[in-house]
């Protein structure tokens, strides 16, 4: 009996200024799944993602992660299981050197500097960025920053990887490398993106979010070849599926 690693039950969220960003989102993700989240701008994708590690708490409804209900007191525990990578790597690499950044998570988890350093090196190795370890983040390229940002999350050994527009500022080669990397991970993955080709390559399942609710949920191949559905959500067919 596979347990759900992620469960959203009728989650609603209202911002302090009154905007209702999520209006009853429900879905489940099982262990090992890779799910893409797509939708128009302002549909609620980012808000949804921010609930996944407790940066936002639902106004109503429940979020359960690995059988732990999300609440103020359980956020710390949940952040060990869920690693989020945000859109702008510059916002996530805030330490003086790459190695210190990747070791930030393990150190906060209570590891000794030695153990944290080891974990950090291992994580950097996995993303092929070990040689960057002593460099300051502002001396490396955008693609390298993305890789390091992923490493910084991997070092915490999360069960789930959540990513918001991971390839947004990458050049084609870096993007290819990223896709290959993501495919090599056995973690459960949740990827929010406008890059539908990336979703097609990386995710088996796809959820369409529209105006704060789930508009469609099914196999990625199916959803992403449904032209009408996509266009109704200000999207279009992945470039690889479009006929010239």
């Amino acid at each position: 009996m596979s347990h759900h690693i992620f469960e959203f039950r009728d989650v609603r969220y209202r911002y302090p200024d009154g905007t209702e960003a999520l209006k009853g989102v429900s879905f489940q993700v099982t262990h090992g799944e890779s799910v893409g989240i797509v939708g128009a701008n302002g549909a609620g994708k980012s808000t949804l993602l921010l609930h996944m590690n407790g940066l936002l708490l639902p106004t109503s409804g429940e979020v359960t992660i690995g059988e732990v209900p999300l609440g103020k007191g359980t956020r710390g525990e949940i952040r060990r299981k869920v690693g989020i990578i945000f859109q702008n790597p510059d916002d996530q690499l805030f330490m003086p050197t790459v190695l210190e950044d990747v070791a930030f998570g393990p150190l906060n988890l209570g590891m000794s500097p030695k153990a944290a350093g080891e974990l950090a090196r291992e994580a950097l190795r996995r993303v092929n960025a070990l040689e960057l370890r002593d460099k300051p983040p502002h001396h490396i390229s955008g693609g390298q920053k993305s890789a390091v940002a992923i490493a910084s999350v991997l070092a915490m050994n999360p069960d789930i990887l959540v990513m918001d527009e991971p390839a947004a500022s990458l050049d084609p080669k870096s993007r290819r490398l990223l896709i290959a990397l993501l495919r090599s991970f056995s973690h459960s993955k949740i990827v929010a993106s406008h890059d539908l080709d990336l979703i097609l390559d990386v995710c088996a399942r796809c959820i369409v979010v529209r105006e704060g609710a789930v508009a469609a949920d099914g196999p990625a191949e199916e959803i992403l070849s449904d032209r009408d559905l996509l266009e109704a959500n200000s999207l279009e067919l992945p470039l690889s599926l479009q006929r010239r």
């Binding site: 921010l50 590690n53 940066l55 710390g76 952040r79 060990r80 690693g83 989020i84 945000f86 702008n88 510059d90 916002d91 996530q92 805030f94 330490m95 003086p96 050197t97 190695l99 210190e100 070791a103 930030f104 998570g105 150190l107 906060n108 988890l109 500097p113 944290a116 350093g117 460099k135 300051p136 983040p137 502002h138 001396h139 910084s152 999350v153 915490m156």
Partner: protein, 269 residues
């Protein structure tokens, strides 16, 4: 200084600071201490002293040579920041009523000597300060300061500032460029536009800080920024400080040029 000039100037200095030479490998604490000793020694010279200061040039010259720091680069920067010192010092020849004989029958205001003293001291202290950052990465200096007892919160602040320095400068350049492109040649910004530029930048900065905070929380941040390294002082570091300190003390207490000059004249005559 324009944003662009500052950006590339600092950028170059920043890159130089990550080079790998014997000087760069010295412990930051040793370099900070040596630099401070140097500055204090130089600045402690009496106001009219000029020639006895010259031996002190050995320190920045050696640091630059062994640290692979281009001499022209440093010199240009020293000249660039000299205006204030020149401005204040240039009144000395005017206001000093004392005079000094520099040749039989010729005397000038003693103020020229104090002015020259200021200029030489200025060249020495500024070049050495620049060489400190040129041979030690800023995070290295911060780590050194922490080990020297500076409060963790302040050090963490320095590191954060440094990390986002170039990011913010780039953002500022983008905003200013956008303004320039719509100014049609009218140079400079009026007050109202400036306020809008700064205000926009400020808001973006606050938003960025919120995102960074979110990223920190996501990786378990609970108030303390953890540190990874524990560097130990090596014998070479202690030796460096000792040697430098002794040299400064010597040059401060003994008028080296005078002595050398006498020896030279003795040899010639």
């Amino acid at each position: 200084m324009t944003l662009e000039a500052a950006f590339y100037g600092i950028g170059r200095l920043d890159r130089l600071s990550y080079q790998d030479t014997a000087v760069h490998r010295l412990d930051p604490r040793a370099k900070v201490v040596a630099t401070m000793l140097f500055v204090v020694a130089v600045v402690s010279f009496p106001r009219y002293e000029v020639l006895s200061l010259f031996p002190f040039f050995l320190f920045p010259v050696l640091m630059a040579a062994f640290g692979d720091i281009p001499a022209g680069f440093i010199t240009k920067k020293v000249v660039a920041v000299s205006p204030f010192a020149v401005f204040v010092g240039m009144f000395n020849p005017l206001f000093d009523p004392g005079t000094v004989a520099i040749a039989p029958g010729v005397s000038v205001s003693a103020g020229w000597f104090s002015f020259a003293s200021i200029l030489v001291k200025f060249a020495l202290t500024v070049s050495t300060a620049l060489l400190l950052i040129a041979t030690t990465s800023f995070p290295g200096i911060c780590r050194g300061l922490r080990r020297l007892g500076v409060p963790a919160l302040f050090v963490s602040q320095l590191l954060f500032l440094y990390r986002y320095l170039f990011v913010l400068m780039e953002e500022a350049m983008r905003v200013v460029r956008a303004r320039d492109m719509r100014s049609f040649g009218k140079r400079g910004t009026g007050g109202r536009i400036f306020i809008r530029i700064v205000g926009t930048l400020f808001l973006r900065t606050v938003e960025r800080a919120e995102r960074i905070y979110g990223a920190m929380l996501a990786r378990g941040f609970r108030g303390e920024v953890p540190s990874l390294r524990r560097e130990a002082l090596r014998p070479s570091d202690a030796l460096f400080v000792l040697a430098a300190g002794s040299l400064f003390a010597l040059c401060r207490l003994v008028p080296v040029p005078e002595a050398l000059g006498r020896i030279a004249r003795g040899l010639i005559a």
